[in-house]
């Protein structure tokens, strides 16, 4: 389907709708080095329907000239999959943490303000260092040990359809960090691991093989920076682009840790 055809088909009466903008106005918070001061720059690219923020940034990179006419260093940002599964392009779009690739320009108010994902250290422009996510996933043992005292040729353990459906929700996490950016308890000031690693504990603890390390994971989230540091503000579940039921995971882990503490106390 050609673009002309689609535009003609979806366009309202010229008198009824507002005029199609002739440009896309981007207001980007830039930062040259991790320690340098951030500053704002305004850019405009020609309007095209169906742009998303990543594709708009790609167009901008070809000709990085500000609205004031100054040619500047191209904007640095991260991207990979372009289909909201890798999580690398998460940033603040008009003040909201979300993946840039699924932020459709036609649905955004202009100028579109782009800022690096908060709470994580800025590397450059819109690139942040999310290695804290890796460290916290390791801290809560968000992995499954596949080596063990069982026959590796045995068929995989069975999981009921209902259990599988519930677990699947958590398996969609792409470590984008939006939930942590929105969490009022997470940040450089605190050692809270944040919602996403907790949800992975919920997932791994339910896994037929992963459940063997359940107690280790629960003990990990019962320590500093663990589950107790959650303040139940529940912003995480509102901003998660994959609609992961983070607050349900936190409630279920509350239950698991309550029982685990009783086991630890009473044997």
């Amino acid at each position: 389907m050609s673009r002309q055809h689609r535009t003609a088909a979806s366009e309202p009466e010229p008198s009824a709708g507002k005029a199609e903008p002739d440009r896309i106005h981007l207001r980007i918070r830039r930062q040259d080095r991790p320690e340098s001061r951030p500053y704002w720059q305004d850019f405009a690219i020609p309007y095209q329907p169906d742009h998303n923020v990543v594709s708009a940034l790609l167009v901008l990179r070809a000709d990085p000239v500000t609205i004031a006419g100054e040619r500047v260093e191209p904007v640095a940002w991260e991207r990979n999959c372009m289909e909201e599964v890798c999580g690398s392009c998460a940033m603040l779009v008009n003040g909201v943490p979300r993946p840039a690739c699924s932020a459709l320009v036609d649905s955004l108010a202009q100028p579109i303000a782009l800022e690096p994902l908060p709470k994580f250290p800025v590397v450059r422009d819109l690139v942040v260092d999310r290695s804290r996510m890796d460290r916290t996933l390791a801290q809560v043992k968000a992995w499954i040990q596949i080596d063990g005292a069982w026959d590796t040729h045995a068929p995989a353990p069975r999981t009921s359809q209902a259990e599988w459906a519930a677990n699947y929700l958590y398996s969609r996490c792409m470590s984008c960090g939006c939930c942590m950016a929105a969490c009022p308890q997470f940040g450089p000031h605190a050692d809270f691991v944040g919602p996403a690693p907790l949800a992975q504990v919920r997932l791994m603890n339910a896994h037929p093989t992963g459940r063997y390390d359940r107690v280790d994971r629960l003990h990990a989230i019962m320590g500093e920076g663990g589950l107790s540091d959650c303040g139940n503000a529940q912003n995480c579940v509102r901003v998660c682009p994959k609609a992961i039921p983070l607050t349900t995971a936190i409630g279920e882990l509350g239950r698991q840790t309550t029982l685990q503490a009783l086991r630890d106390l009473l044997g």
Partner: protein, 210 residues
């Protein structure tokens, strides 16, 4: 393995949570119900309600162990974790985010109110026997000042909010409510509880007015 016991982080935080409900929250419910009897007048309030409490065996020990110490721990630990908050209510204007912030702000407000409240009643009564002999009259004199009545109403409503909202989040913390629906239903239950308790408390305040 007993890793969660060797590391006190979890147990302290859960103790803070538990003490907020029992005994501190339970005492608030009792206290507001008890004082709602102010509407029966000075003779009943001084002669029945206060006299019964003052005549209790081991009263000072109970006051210290069941009220003062748990409250001090709950408040102290609350102040300790308060600086973790990085509230952004404009960016995330969701109800639960507001409640999260209000829970912490109300905690500080309650603490300031309690300094005034306990100071001008129980503590002052230690060296002014007249206060203990006619608590009703003392409260009437206090609450006749409009600003003091406002302060009491604010302290009362903050306390009731803190208990009701704390109860709702306790459901998640302890794992009673996990699903969104369960959390919502329990949340409305806590809201109803809070409204009833606030009504009882306000009635008690008004009962002291001449």
């Amino acid at each position: 393995m007993t890793a969660s016991i060797e590391n006190s982080h979890f147990l302290l935080r859960r103790l803070h949570s538990l003490l907020g409900l029992v005994p501190v929250g339970a005492f608030l419910v009792f206290h507001l119900w008890e004082n709602s009897q102010s509407r029966f007048g000075a003779a009943h309030y001084n002669g029945e309600v206060v006299a019964f409490l003052q005549g209790m065996n081991y009263l000072t020990v109970i006051e210290l162990l069941v009220i003062a110490l748990p409250l001090a721990f709950h408040a102290g630990y609350g102040l300790l974790i308060l600086p973790q908050m990085r509230l952004e209510p404009r960016r995330y204007p969701y109800a639960r985010n507001w409640l999260y912030g209000l829970q912490r702000v109300s905690g500080v407000g309650i603490l300031l109110f309690l300094l005034v409240h306990v100071g001008t009643t129980r503590i002052q009564g230690l060296w002014q026997p007249a206060i203990r002999a006619d608590l009703y009259g003392h409260m009437q004199a206090l609450l006749s000042e409009p600003w003091m009545l406002g302060l009491y109403a604010a302290g009362l409503l903050l306390s009731v909010f803190h208990l009701a909202n704390g109860l709702a989040t306790m459901g998640i913390v302890w794992g009673l409510t996990a699903s969104v629906q369960a959390q919502r239903i329990f949340g409305y239950g806590c809201l109803t509880f809070g409204l009833v308790l606030a009504a009882i408390g306000i009635q008690g305040l008004l009962g002291f007015l001449p």
